[in-house]
Every structure is written in C-alpha cells, then in structure tokens.
C-alpha cells in the first residue's frame, strides 16, 4: 500500500525529531523554496544558500510552528524574509546570473522567447525588494492576496494597492528597456 503522508503528519513526526520525516518535507518543498529564492535574487549560488538556510531555520523552529498556516506558506515566509535580508545586505545591484532564466540550452526554445524571459527577469531584479517579492509570490507562485499578506507580514488591505504599483513598476521597467 503506497500512502503519501500529509505535510501535517510529516511535521508532527519531524517535531518529534524524525529527520527522515523532515527529509520528506524538504524533498516535497525544495523546488518552490529554491524557485522563490532564485527569482528574488537572480543568482543560483545565492538562491541555493538561501534555500539551504531556509530549511535549516525551519528545522530549528519547528517547535514554534503551530500549524495556523500551511507548512508550505510558513516556508514561503522564511525563504522570502531570508531573500529580502540577503538583498538588503548587498551593496550593489545584483548581477544577473544568466542561468537564472531557466532552460536556456533547450534547442526548441526560440531566441526571441529567451530574450523576452531574460528581459522580464532583469526587470524583476531592478524593482524594489518588496515589489519584487509581491510579484514573485503572486504572479510566479500563484499565491492569494491573503497568503501574501501573511508571508510578508503586511495588512491584507495593503496588498492590493502595493501589487498594483509593483505591476506598473514592472511594466515601466520592462517596457522602457525593450
């Protein structure tokens, strides 16, 4: 019988100290955590560091995770905050890691499409940190406004207006460069 244990079951076991259960959670959520870090930071090396630190912090903080939100949302909060801290610590604008665009070696991908994705990735990286986070969580990760409010610890009523401004900033940035 093959049964996929729910996040709640795995979290309960991990809180008991079962590293195997936590390993299953990492395997399940590593793609989303790494993706958010990569889109926020634009560097594969930084994204891997942040993703690793996110899971280490999650393991150490499991006792404080009360399950009011989904485990995945909690991880989004940790990785987003870590990425924002990394951005704040950078003295200069991030240099774009071209591999951050994705599968650039795919021969079926047209040059034009690659260039468009590169432009929008660069546009994201030129935005203010919070605007970048808003767009990554909403437009790339498909989170709801309520989840984003929780992840960024801002009032739900403020998300919509800030999202509008972030989208316009992206349109202006990408539109001005293309």
């Amino acid at each position: 019988m093959v049964i996929e244990a729910s996040d709640a079951v795995l979290v309960a076991a991990a809180r008991d100290g079962d590293l195997g259960a936590f390993e299953s959670l990492v395997r399940r959520h590593q793609a989303a955590v790494y993706r958010v870090a990569l889109r926020m930071l634009g560097s594969e090396a930084d994204a891997e560091d942040v993703a690793q630190e996110t899971f280490v912090q999650a393991w150490r903080s499991l006792a404080r995770f009360r399950g009011h939100s989904a485990f995945g949302t909690w991880l989004y909060r940790i990785v987003t905050n870590r990425a924002l801290n990394t951005l704040a610590a950078r003295r200069e604008t991030a240099s774009l890691d071209h591999d951050a665009i994705g599968a650039l070696d795919d021969p079926n991908e047209t040059l034009e499409r690659r260039e468009r994705l590169r432009a929008v990735t660069e546009g994201l990286l030129m935005l203010a940190s919070e605007q970048r986070a808003l767009l990554v969580l909403r437009e790339l990760e498909g989170m709801t406004y309520a989840q984003i409010a929780e992840v960024l610890a801002i009032p739900p009523s403020a998300v919509k207006g800030r999202m509008h401004r972030a989208r316009l900033a992206l349109v202006t940035t990408v539109g001005g460069r293309s």
Partner: protein, 177 residues
C-alpha cells in the same frame, strides 16, 4: 508611462488597466476603452509584459541536485548510541537511528500501515529503549489491533536484529488513508 503618473491623457487609471490584464478584472469603461488609442496602447504594453511574466511562471527551474543532501547533512547530528550487549570481550553499541529504522521497517511490514515515522524517546543505561511511533493507517480495520500488530512486529525485529530491549512503544495514529 512613467513611474509617477498613473493616469493616461484620456483619464484612464493605469492601476485599473493593469488589474484588468493581470487579474482578468472587467474594464471600468469598456466602450471608452474600445475606441481610445491611449487605452489600447497601454493595454498592449501591459499585456506584453503580463504574457512574459506568465512565460516565466511556467519556465521550469531545476533544483540544485545537492540541495537536499546539503540540508540533511547539516541537520544530522552525531547519533546517540545504545548499549545492547555487554560481555567480557567488549560492548556492542547500536545507534538509536538504527533502532528507529529497524522499527520503521517493522511497522511498515504490518498490513494496513501505509506510513510510519519512529524516533527513540528514551534510552536507559541498561540498554532499554523507548520508541514513539506515528502511523498513517488504511481506513477500515480496528485501529487498536493495527497498533498492537505494530508493537509486536517492532518488538520482534528490534530484539532479533539489534539486541536492544524495548521499554515502551507509544503509537500515535496521525491520519487515515
């Protein structure tokens, strides 16, 4: 379309146009929009960026192959050792992780158990071990019977394979499948 100005020459609000494109919201004034060159130009530019953002959202991102291993190796501490056999020629020690793994496999061998997580909850100086077991069990059979079957299987395998003596096996059924 600079960063400060949010209204077009025709008076349309750029925030609303962006919301219309990104969120699929209804136009504030559909009739005006259809015939307004300012609105049409702005909508084209917003749509182009929105399409590219959508393209980025569906772009596969490869997870670094070593990420999982790096995380787990950082979290793995030195395992506690359980003394399971002391004889004149020396003592045999078994890591508590090994006892947990043997117990987990024993639990999974029991019919209707679909998931098992086991940690050692205590070890005594005399080599006795307490275990905490969490299970996901198929819906149907009596749960106490499944739990008893798990206790029996664990006790047999741990004794046979590691030599450790179990002090207690606390079973929690976390979920039904």
């Amino acid at each position: 379309m600079n960063g400060e100005r949010t209204r077009l020459a025709c008076g349309a609000d750029l925030h609303e146009l962006a919301g219309q494109v990104f969120e699929g919201a209804a136009p504030a004034d559909a009739a005006h929009q259809r015939s307004c060159p300012h609105c049409q130009a702005a909508l084209r530019r917003i749509r182009a960026v929105a399409d590219d953002v959508q393209g980025l959202a569906t772009e596969p991102v490869a997870v670094p192959p070593g990420l999982l291993r790096s995380v787990i190796s950082r979290l793995r501490s030195v395992p506690a050792l359980v003394t399971v056999d002391v004889r004149t020629r020396g003592a045999t020690m078994v890591a508590d992780d090994v006892i947990a793994e043997v117990s987990k496999r024993a639990a999974l061998s029991v019919e209707d158990v679909g998931y098992a997580a086991v940690v050692t909850s205590e070890q005594t100086p005399t080599g006795m071990v307490g275990l905490r077991v969490r299970l996901v069990v198929a819906y149907g059979p009596a749960l106490h019977a499944v739990a008893d079957g798990v206790r029996t299987a664990i006790a047999q395998d741990v004794a046979a394979l590691t030599g450790a003596t179990l002090r207690s096996v606390d079973v929690t059924i976390d979920d039904l499948a």
